[in-house]
C-alpha cells in the first residue's frame, strides 16, 4: 500500500527532529574538539621537555639498571585500554576493543597472563560482561581533563609495574591524526626500551650537565614522572580522537537525515500529485455522467 500523505508528513517531521539532535551533537563535539586541541597543545611543551631531560641523563649514564628502562622476563602483561563513557562515536570504541581481543588471542593462552587497566564506561562494561581480569578501572573523566584528574591512575599504574604486579605495559588507544582520521595504536610504555635496544644504552657519552646528587637518584624520580607523562599524553590523544570521531559520526547522521528528508519530500509530492489527478478525474467523470 502506498503510505498516505499524513503518514509521509509524520515521517518527515520525525526525521527533521532527529536531524536537529544529531546536528546539535555535531556542534558540541566540534567545540569540544577545539578545546581538546588546546589542552594537547599545552601538554606538548611539558612532554618535549621531559623527553629531552630523559635523553640527557640516559645518554650520559652508562649503567642502566632501573626497572623502568630495562626489560625483564614477561610473566604478565598489562593492557591500558582507553574507551569513551558513551557511544555514538562511530568506530571509536569498537576498534579499540577489537584490537585488544586480537592481541590477546594472538599472545595469551590463559587470563592469568594478562590484566587490564581501563578508562571509560564502554570498556568497563565490556570487560565485566566477559569476565576479563581488570586491575583498575576509571570512568567519567572530564572532557577537558587536567593532569590532576588522571594523576592517581597514572601513579598507581607505574607503581604496580615497579612492584612487579605486571612486567610490561601496553596502551591501546585511538591516536589523533587529524579531525578526519584517527587510528588505533598499541604502544609499549613500560619498560621504556625493548630487548633489542639494551646494548645501545651501554655506551655512555659525555654530558656537560652536573647531576645533583647523581644520575641514578635523578632517574629514580624522573623516570616514573616520564612514564606517567606518556600515559597522560596517550589519554589526551584518545580524548581528541573521541571528540573528532563523535563529530564525524554525527555529521554523517545529519547528512543521512538530509538525504532521507529529500527522498521523503519527493514521495510526498508524488503522492499529492497522484491524489490531485485522481480527484480531477473523479470530478470530470462525474460531470461527464451528468451531461449524458
Amino acid at each position: 500500500m502506498i503510505p498516505s500523505l499524513r503518514e509521509i508528513q509524520k515521517r518527515i517531521n520525525s526525521t527533521e527532529k532527529t536531524k536537529q539532535i544529531t546536528n546539535a551533537m555535531h556542534m558540541v563535539a566540534a567545540s569540544k574538539l577545539g578545546k581538546s586541541e588546546t589542552t594537547n597543545h599545552a601538554f606538548v611543551a611539558y612532554a618535549e621537555k621531559i623527553e629531552e631531560m630523559v635523553h640527557h641523563i640516559v645518554e650520559s649514564y652508562g649503567e642502566h639498571n632501573h626497572p623502568i628502562i630495562i626489560p625483564r622476563k614477561v610473566k604478565k602483561t598489562a593492557y591500558f585500554v582507553v574507551t569513551a563513557d558513551r557511544g555514538l562515536a562511530g568506530p571509536f570504541n569498537n576498534q579499540v576493543l577489537r584490537r585488544l581481543e586480537e592481541i590477546i588471542a594472538e599472545r595469551h593462552h590463559s587470563p592469568r597472563e594478562y590484566t587490564i587497566i581501563s578508562i571509560g564506561r564502554i570498556g568497563r562494561d565490556y570487560f565485566k560482561k566477559r569476565n576479563m581480569p581488570v586491575l583498575r578501572t576509571v570512568t567519567d573523566l572530564p572532557d577537558n581533563p587536567y593532569f590532576s584528574d588522571l594523576e592517581d591512575l597514572t601513579f598507581d599504574t607505574v607503581q604496580f609495574y615497579l612492584d612487579g604486579e605486571f612486567d610490561q605495559l601496553e596502551m591501546i588507544y585511538n591516536h589523533f591524526l587529524s579531525a578526519m582520521t584517527q587510528e588505533v595504536r598499541s604502544k609499549r610504555i613500560l619498560p621504556l626500551i625493548g630487548e633489542d635496544d639494551v646494548e645501545d644504552l651501554k655506551k655512555s657519552r659525555h654530558s656537560e650537565f652536573i647531576f645533583e646528587p647523581n644520575e641514578e637518584e635523578i632517574l629514580k624520580s624522573l623516570l616514573p614522572q616520564y612514564a606517567e607523562s606518556l600515559i597522560y599524553g596517550a589519554f589526551l590523544e584518545s580524548k581528541a580522537s573521541e571528540n573528532a570521531a563523535r563529530m564525524n559520526a554525527m555529521r554523517n547522521a545529519t547528512d543521512n537525515a538530509d538525504k532521507m528528508i529529500s527522498d521523503l519530500r519527493m514521495q510526498y509530492n508524488r503522492a499529492r500529485q497522484a491524489q490531485i489527478t485522481q480527484e480531477l478525474s473523479e470530478i470530470i467523470s462525474g460531470a461527464d455522467a451528468q451531461n449524458d
Partner: protein, 134 residues
C-alpha cells in the same frame, strides 16, 4: 645585569615564562640558589615552594615535585603540578588534605598509602603558601 629566563612547565601548560634575577628551589639535598652564569645542572625537586626573584620582589610557586634544569641562564622547572598563590584553590587543598589523612589512617594497600602520603604533602605545601602570604 644578566638575567635568568625561567620557565615553569606542567602537563597543563606553561604557567611562568619570564625573566628573573635569581631562583631558589628545594632539591632533595637542600636549598639551591641559582644565579645567572650557573653551571648546567639537573636536580630533582621535592614538594616545596620555589621563589623567583627580581630586585626586591619575589614570586612564589608551589611545586608538586619534579625537576629543575639549568642550561645557559635558562632555568626550567618541570613539575607535575605548579601554582602561583593566586591560583591555589584553598577549599580544594583543604579537602584533599582531609581525604589524604583519612586514607593514611585506613592503611589499605601500600600503593594507596604512598599515593595518599604524596597527596597530603602537596596539599600541605599549597596551604602553607597561602598562610605565609597572610
Amino acid at each position: 645585569m644578566k638575567k635568568l629566563t625561567v620557565e615553569v612547565v606542567t602537563p597543563d601548560g606553561r604557567i611562568v615564562n619570564d625573566q628573573f634575577d635569581m631562583v631558589v628551589v628545594h632539591s632533595e639535598k637542600g636549598e639551591l640558589g641559582i644565579l645567572p652564569g650557573h653551571a648546567p645542572l639537573i636536580a630533582p625537586l621535592i614538594i616545596s615552594s620555589a621563589r623567583l626573584k627580581t630586585g626586591n620582589e619575589s614570586m612564589k610557586v608551589a611545586i608538586g615535585g619534579g625537576l629543575v634544569e639549568v642550561d645557559q641562564d635558562h632555568v626550567t622547572l618541570l613539575a607535575q603540578s605548579a601554582e602561583t598563590p593566586a591560583k591555589i584553590d584553598v577549599q580544594r587543598a583543604r579537602k584533599a588534605k582531609e581525604r589524604a589523612e583519612r586514607r593514611i589512617q585506613q592503611k589499605r594497600d601500600h600503593v594507596d598509602f604512598r599515593r595518599a602520603e604524596l597527596a597530603l604533602k602537596r596539599a600541605i605545601n599549597r596551604l602553607n603558601m597561602i598562610d605565609e602570604d597572610i
